[in-house]
């Protein structure tokens, strides 16, 4: 499709939808309603929204939807760390049912026993999976869950009167940037550990930085490399011994379900992204849930209210003595909790463990195959990968000049997603692949074939790769100037029109 910007569809006078007429009796009582508005608060010029008929609005957005490569449409391996798995359709039926969608968050609890039961029961399941003692579903994503955990760390030391002293949080470079960023929002100084030459977090480096200033330690395990830190218990012990809190980024726990738990590794808190491991759809980036679990001694710091069982019914407990308050309005995103609970029940204990096993099998198969592609490598220790791997095109780039960004654009021609890594690029010319349990061997072979083809093309016809995409919805975007130059960037259509006019004015 060559679909215009929605403002270009404007036809003065058209309507997309009409609203109910106000009853004549109401008009007789109160008039037009708007003359009551104080003069200074009346809107004097109508918002310049476009006027478009219903059919055309629908066509526009349907076409845009078709230009979006959702996980349901491709062999979704390329967005590593994101755990792009199958989101079962049946769960969408639950989420969009009026029994879910038409609930107001402040209804009397007697009228929302169903959704509270679901939240409570998923809590129980996650306790089994993690070993934690209570979960909250309030955080709206992994990042917000990390922020909530940093807040809990803060509240904990505040209660103990150690807040002034403890102002450092330790993390690792292969963990998600939000770990560092959210702790910084909470005022912490960040200490970032780099791995040893095998890619393991370096315990000596940890020992060197831990002190009475340590408020907490946050880490993913496995990290983005897919490598599990086998000495994690020692890490958490060192931090605990120094008086810090250990919290665990399990946004992606897809290789671990039923295999190993946060509790036994010594963590005080962890969170799961329901939109990763627990299959709820990513929705272009939310709404989502970062389910936050803590051990008993941290429960009183949790954001409230918590769902609890009381006799036959479920209640909202907002009496948490040292609660951090809240991180999100109401009870988070319950329709996602519902989806995740349905997913857990569709799999059962055995199925959940199969998820981890097959995710790891798929990843190791892929890892094995990619090792055979000319120009590709997987830095750090051989083997020992769980659910994902961060690879490198270092050799290919040296030999052909083709970069990981070029390959990314070229993979789009084959309808594949492909992601490099967060910044900074510790691994040179990185790419991160994560085949979840949802993909079959045939799917993996298809992705491998495309990657092999593109890598080989980089050697034989590098220009083709560098000029990509050739076959996608659009061609290469002129990035430099338009996204980093304040005189040219345009964050809205109105801004674009103004700046385009200025550019024209200068030219003429």
């Amino acid at each position: 499709w060559d679909e215009p910007i929605i403002f270009e569809l404007h036809q003065s006078g058209e309507r997309g939808i009409t609203l109910p007429q106000v009853e004549q009796e109401i008009v007789d009582h109160v008039g037009d309603g708007i003359t009551a508005i104080p003069a200074e608060m009346v809107r004097k010029t109508a918002p310049k929204l476009p006027e478009i008929s219903q059919n055309r609005v629908l066509r526009h957005y349907l076409r845009l939807s078709q230009e979006t490569l959702g996980a349901a449409f491709n062999v979704e391996i390329g967005q590593g760390t994101c755990t792009m798995k199958y989101s079962p359709k049946i769960n969408e039926a639950f989420a969009s049912s009026p029994k879910m969608s038409e609930l107001h968050p402040l209804q009397d609890v007697s009228t929302v026993q169903g959704i509270l039961e679901v939240m409570y029961k998923l809590d129980l399941c996650l306790r089994e999976i993690s070993g934690m003692d209570t979960f909250s579903f309030q955080p709206g994503s992994g990042t917000q869950s990390l922020f909530a955990m940093a807040s809990i760390v803060h509240a904990y030391h505040e209660k103990n009167g150690e807040n002034d002293q403890r102002d450092e949080i330790i993390t690792t470079i292969f963990s998600h940037p939000s770990q560092a960023a959210t702790a910084a929002v909470k005022g912490y100084k960040i200490i970032t550990l780099h791995p040893d030459e095998d890619g393991f977090p370096d315990i000596e480096k940890l020992k060197a930085v831990v002190s009475e200033r340590t408020a907490g330690f946050v880490v993913a395990n496995p990290e983005d490399t897919g490598i599990y830190n086998p000495r994690i218990k020692e890490f958490t012990k060192i931090v605990h011994d120094a008086g810090g809190i250990c919290y665990y980024d399990q946004a992606n726990a897809n290789g671990l379900l039923g295999i190993t738990r946060a509790k036994e590794a010594g963590f005080d808190m962890c969170f799961f992204n329901l939109h990763k491991t627990f299959s709820t759809p990513h929705a272009c980036g939310g709404p989502a849930t970062g389910a936050l679990g803590v051990v008993d001694r941290l429960k009183e710091f949790m954001p409230g209210p918590l769902v609890e069982q009381q006799g036959e019914s479920y209640i909202l407990n907002d009496n948490l003595k040292h609660s951090i308050g809240k991180v999100r309005s109401f009870q988070g995103v319950p329709q996602t909790v519902l989806r995740a609970y349905a997913w857990v029940r569709a799999l059962g204990a055995e199925g959940l463990k199969d998820v981890a096993k097959i995710a790891v099998l798929n990843n190791n198969y892929l890892y094995h195959k990619i090792a055979g592609i000319r120009g590709a490598s997987a830095p750090y220790i051989k083997g020992k990968r769980l659910e994902q791997v961060r690879y490198s095109w270092e050799q290919l780039t040296k030999e052909t000049g083709v970069t990981t960004e070029d390959i990314s654009r070229r993979m789009a021609d084959f309808a594949h997603q492909y992601w490099s890594s967060h910044h900074p690029f510790i691994v040179p010319e990185p790419f991160t692949l994560e085949p979840t349990e949802s993909l079959s061997k045939a799917d993996l072979d298809e992705y491998i074939a495309s990657l092999t083809y593109v890598a080989s093309e980089a050697y034989t016809n590098p220009k083709k790769v560098k000029d990509a995409p050739h076959n996608s919805s659009i061609h290469r975007v002129d990035e430099q100037d338009y996204f980093d130059n304040p005189d040219k960037w345009a964050i809205s259509w109105r801004s674009y029109l103004k700046k385009a006019k200025q550019v024209e004015a200068v030219r003429s």
Partner: protein, 469 residues
């Protein structure tokens, strides 16, 4: 045709034993367990998780439907609750678009894979920009509360100051979020309201503002439903102290009410939920932040900002991240706050909603809400001993009804209404004890005259039957 040994799960294709064996052979491993050898044995969980066995899809459907059946919805009962989550009509096309498998399952691809996602979100930004009449709106954040908190943090970074003034009439739920997001660096100072009107007490505001003030934050309409009219005076006062003005706004009002940019706001924020999101027990909330095209402000956004750009082909548009180096994606703890998954799908939906309504529809929406809520206030106010609205200001959508002079508490009244199939207003007696037995009612375009009359009749009956309950 023998029965299968172990169930292959429909969600996990490679549970087929033969395929597993083949893959292991390729890898050079004997068992899947071998692949976990990176995890020390003492960390391997040997117990069976206490989670019931797998359900087939039909069993799951009956089981989940059975649980959810216990809920009573706002389609079954008449609902007059608002207080941050509002009962608006959701056009069918909003659902169609946000349930499309493409949008539902996309995430974070580049514009070459996800052009539609980029364009839809850029359009959302552009449509909201028209509604608030400013040049910049971000990709949606979590909700109004967090959008407000982030706006305040932006102001603090811009001014290098660490106090913010907020109205005492703010939603306590929202204030909790703001306080936690601001702590420990920024102090939240509450400003009194005028007893009769609910409006910000200018004298108190003048007393509390100083050259430590990063921003004044207020809301329009306020949490208690009235329209704050002194916007221009407040922003003038802020400007005179080199502080920013931040206004939280309900976008459903902007077809009839002046947008904050018209009375001096530097940053505007609010919730998208009224623009096409189902309430979903709070799951429809979604925040937005807008500002002028001012580099000082733009560089402080933590969120992604999608921009438009030409491609190598003449006449073709592409999209991408404006000034990506601001973000924590690029800079980790050196970035501006943090960014991650928030509520993009609701942004796309709000874009659909605004495209459908257009300027005429937004005006009708606002007007209809004004008319219906004024009618409801009038009718409730006619009940003996009931005061509606508690405040003298003009209201939009919500208003405070005071029952202190009846012989019933709000709790009793709401219980009675519940028995009559009505969710009454939000009980304010704990959050705002100074308002006595008061309740916050919400009336939108979905409430017909008949609905309102039914509410009024039920309350009349409840108050008449003094002894009972």
């Amino acid at each position: 045709m023998s029965e299968q040994r172990k169930m292959v799960h429909p969600y996990i294709p490679n549970t087929v034993p033969e395929v597993q064996a083949e893959m292991l052979r390729e890898i050079g491993a004997n068992t899947i367990e071998e692949l976990f050898d990176g995890i020390p044995e003492d960390l391997q969980y040997m117990k069976e998780m206490n989670i019931p066995a797998a359900l087939s899809e039909y069993e799951l459907r009956r089981y989940i439907d059975g649980i959810m059946e216990k809920n009573i919805t706002t389609k079954e009962y008449l609902n007059f609750l608002g207080a941050g989550c509002w009962n608006h009509y959701v056009p069918a096309i909003c659902d169609e678009i946000n349930q499309r498998a493409e949008f539902l399952t996309a995430y974070a691809g580049d514009p070459y894979e996800d052009l539609g996602r980029y364009q839809a979100l850029f359009e959302y930004q552009s449509l909201m920009a028209e509604l608030v009449d400013m040049d910049v709106v971000n990709v949606p954040t979590f909700d109004w509360a967090q959008a407000a908190a982030t706006s305040i943090r932006m102001a603090s970074r811009i001014t290098n100051r660490y106090e913010v003034l907020l109205p005492k009439t703010i939603s306590p739920d929202r204030l909790k979020v703001i306080r936690n997001y601001c702590s420990p660096q920024i102090e939240c100072i509450l400003v009194d309201y005028e007893e009769d009107s609910g409006q910000i007490n200018m004298r108190d505001l003048e007393d509390k503002i100083s050259f430590n003030t990063a921003a004044i934050y207020f809301e329009n309409p306020s949490y208690l439903g009235f329209i704050e009219t002194k916007g221009q005076k407040i922003s003038n006062l802020a400007k005179s102290h080199n502080a920013l003005t931040i206004v939280g706004v309900d976008p459903s009002s902007l077809g009839v009410l002046a947008p904050p940019s018209h009375y001096g706001a530097d940053i505007v924020c609010g919730d998208l939920q009224p623009l096409g999101m189902h309430m979903s027990y709070g799951g429809g909330q979604s925040g937005f932040i807008g500002s002028h095209d001012d580099l000082t402000v733009i560089q402080e956004y933590p969120s992604r900002l999608f921009g438009i750009a030409p491609t190598v082909v003449e006449g073709e548009y592409g999209f991408g991240d404006v000034f990506y180096d601001r973000t924590s994606f690029a800079q980790r703890e050196e970035g501006k706050e943090s960014v991650g998954t928030q509520t993009a799908l609701w942004g796309i939906t709000a874009g659909v909603y605004l495209s459908l309504l257009g300027p005429g529809g937004m005006r009708e929406l606002g007007k209809s809400i004004m008319q219906r809520s004024q009618y409801a206030m009038e009718q409730l106010g006619n009940i003996p001993n009931v005061v509606a609205s508690r405040f003298e200001s003009t209201n939009f959508k919500e208003f405070v009804v005071n029952f202190s002079h009846t012989n019933k508490s709000v709790e009793e009244i709401n219980k009675n209404l519940l028995n009559n199939g009505i969710f009454g207003g939000k009980d304010l007696s704990e959050e705002f004890p100074e308002l006595g037995q008061s309740s916050l009612f919400c009336i939108t375009e979905v409430h017909t005259k008949e609905d309102i009359d039914q509410l009024v009749t039920a309350i009349r009956k409840c108050l008449d039957s003094s002894g009972s309950n």
